[in-house]
């Protein structure tokens, strides 16, 4: 049994938030699903609220400060990512988008990602597939087919979580676990500083 790392990015603004609540449900289900596949998992959660000012500073200075750097490394170094945002004005929140805006190009290439969102009404649910999924396609992440959307009414069912929502969480977590467990561990994006393009190649028009 090997150990996989899961990073969770939660874009909720209140504390506690329904976004974090959904993120925690998804995380628990993903850890269980990995265990079912013979894999241990460690989980690290990034609450974007704690980095709101860091992110604004990064937009202006062009670099992440120490605190944000740690959060970014958590996400880029993980074997799998659970990304959860509240839906604002028909899309992911600005704070959520900013976090993904400041990542290095290619930082999430090939990353297994589970997409999830919360909102006050089910009428926002298509934002998952019309806004969030294209963002991760652009980042060349591998988003699992099931996205999980939870509106206020989904939390109202028996036992705290509506049966249909619980099913979606289980299915999405299983899909994420399938991708993560199916890969060799410890993969990292190529480091251009460790392994530069030789200058002869640059002279011949490479980059």
């Amino acid at each position: 049994m090997s150990t996989r790392t899961l990073a969770v990015v939660s874009g909720g603004l209140s504390n506690p938030s329904s976004t974090r609540l959904l993120a925690d449900r998804l995380t628990a289900a993903a850890v269980q699903a990995l265990r079912d596949r013979g894999e241990d998992a460690t989980v690290e959660t990034v609450e974007l609220r704690e980095h709101a000012r860091d992110l604004a500073d990064n937009l202006l200075t062009g670099f992440p400060n120490q605190s944000l750097r740690t959060a970014i490394e958590t996400v880029t170094g993980a074997d799998g990512l659970i990304a959860v945002t509240p839906i604002f004005s028909a899309s992911y929140s600005g704070l959520f988008k900013t976090f993904f805006d400041v990542l290095e190009k290619d930082a999430l290439t090939g990353k297994a990602v589970l997409l999830a969102a919360t909102a006050g009404t089910a009428r926002h649910s298509l934002a998952l597939d019309h806004a969030m999924r294209p963002l991760f396609s652009y980042l060349r992440a591998v988003a699992v087919p099931t996205g999980v959307f939870a509106a206020s009414e989904d939390w109202a069912g028996g036992g705290g979580v509506d049966r249909a929502l619980a099913d979606r969480i289980r299915r999405a977590a299983g899909e994420l676990a399938d991708v993560v467990a199916g890969r060799p561990g410890g993969s990292r994006p190529a480091d251009p500083f460790a392994d530069p393009t030789p200058f002869e190649e640059l002279l011949q028009g490479g980059s």
């Binding site: 604004a56 500073d57 937009l59 202006l60 200075t61 062009g62 670099f63 400060n65 120490q66 750097r69 251009p192 500083f193 530069p196 393009t197 030789p198 200058f199 640059l202 002279l203 028009g205 980059s207």
Partner: protein, 390 residues
């Protein structure tokens, strides 16, 4: 080790008075600052090159030629010369000319420029930044080292039988640094040629500078120019000082808070923690600067940014007094004591001429001299007999 200052030539309102200097005032202020740099005992003055407001330095060799006439020892350099949007032929000509006027007190730093709209004004595309830097610099080297160049490339009109004049002073081109904030390809380029590598350093955390310089040093050794710790490294720095640390913080804060590069973002304290910015007493500047060595190794050139963000000329001159009287003498002593003997100083015209086996007149005669009627081949064969071999 060389110490100096570098300017970006910004024309920025002074946030404490709301007044913006005229271009005329700023240009003359930069002359005053460069002359003052020599007076207070600094070694190097470098200017940026920009072709868009709020900057004023579009014509570095015009300016540096004037400064050369007003100084005796100061080494004149750039930070940076745009190797992407300038014609390498014009760089070869302009800086060789400056070499002659300044008696060799010239080197230069290649940079790409990161302002997208500038490129098309010069017929270029920022997406070709790296290939332009690679091809143009390869041509520039040939123009300086070969008397007659036939050349064809991707970006520039081909050259047939072209001779760049004047030839480099004493037959030795200016030393070249390559500056880059974040592109490993440029560190690789500097290493390949055995040129210097300058890390801007001042806008990013030290871990980033450490990675860039580390890559350059490793590859410098790989390409056989010497051991990694003998590679030629320069660093930027950004300081504001007063005798009393708190006075420095209070005086600099309004300039920091509205500075174009990082203003309205992190606090002065946060930015000082994350980057090399040091605002405080001369002793604090000394301690912080000595610490740079801990993560880049022994290095050859330290340039400070002093005259930006709307700081008035009077203040900049006071900063230069403090730098020259209280900071640099101590840094010189301390860095020299720490540096092992096998780590070289930055090359100068004198050291490069000596390494080439002495000065030679590199003058190339015209193909057909209209006075003597001699052909180039005849003229050259006669010259060659008088030229010392090297």
């Amino acid at each position: 080790m060389q110490f100096g200052i570098f300017t970006v030539s910004d024309v920025t309102p002074d946030p404490t008075t709301g007044r913006t200097p005229t271009e005329a005032e700023r240009v003359k202020a930069m002359v005053t600052i460069a002359v003052k740099a020599e007076e207070v005992g600094l070694d190097v003055f470098a200017t940026g090159e920009h072709h868009n407001p709020p900057f004023v330095m579009s014509s570095p060799t015009t300016y540096l030629g004037y400064v050369a006439a007003k100084t005796q020892k100061l080494l004149l350099s750039t930070s940076t010369t745009l190797i992407t949007t300038n014609d390498p032929v014009k760089i070869a000509e302009d800086y060789a000319m400056l070499q002659h006027l300044a008696d060799g007190r010239v080197d230069l730093m290649m940079g790409r420029g990161n302002t997208g709209p500038v490129y098309p004004w010069f017929g270029r595309d920022i997406r070709n930044g790296i290939p332009l830097a690679v091809e143009n610099y390869a041509l520039l080297r040939r123009l300086w080292t070969e008397d007659v160049v036939d050349w064809q490339g991707q970006f520039r009109t081909p050259l047939q039988g072209f001779t760049s004049v004047p030839r480099p002073l004493d037959g030795v081109p200016p030393f070249v640094w390559h500056g880059s904030i974040r592109s490993p390809q440029i560190a690789e380029q500097a290493a390949y040629y055995g040129d210097g590598f300058f890390s801007n350093h001042i806008f990013w955390p030290k871990e980033h500078t450490q990675r860039m310089v580390g890559l350059y040093r490793r590859r410098y050794e790989h390409y056989g120019h010497g051991s990694a710790d003998q590679a030629i490294v320069g660093l930027g720095g950004q300081v504001f000082m007063r005798k009393n640390s708190q006075d420095a913080v209070n005086e600099f804060r309004p300039y920091f808070d509205s500075a174009p590069v990082y203003g309205q973002g992190p606090s002065l304290e946060e930015f000082s923690r994350e980057t090399p910015l040091t605002v405080g007493s001369p002793q604090q500047i000394i301690e912080r600067t000595l610490g740079f060595r801990d993560y880049v190794g022994d290095y050859q050139r330290q340039l400070f940014l002093l005259d930006h963000a709307g700081l008035p000329l009077k203040t900049v001159l006071e900063q230069l007094d403090l730098l020259g009287e209280e900071v640099v003498p101590v840094l010189r002593r301390e860095f020299a004591a720490l540096k092992p003997a096998h780590v070289p100083e930055a090359p100068t015209h004198g050291s490069r001429v000596a390494a080439a086996g002495g000065a030679m007149d590199a003058t190339v005669r015209a193909v057909a001299d209209d006075v003597t009627g001699q052909m180039r081949d005849e003229a050259r064969s006669e010259d060659l007999e008088e030229v010392p071999t090297r």
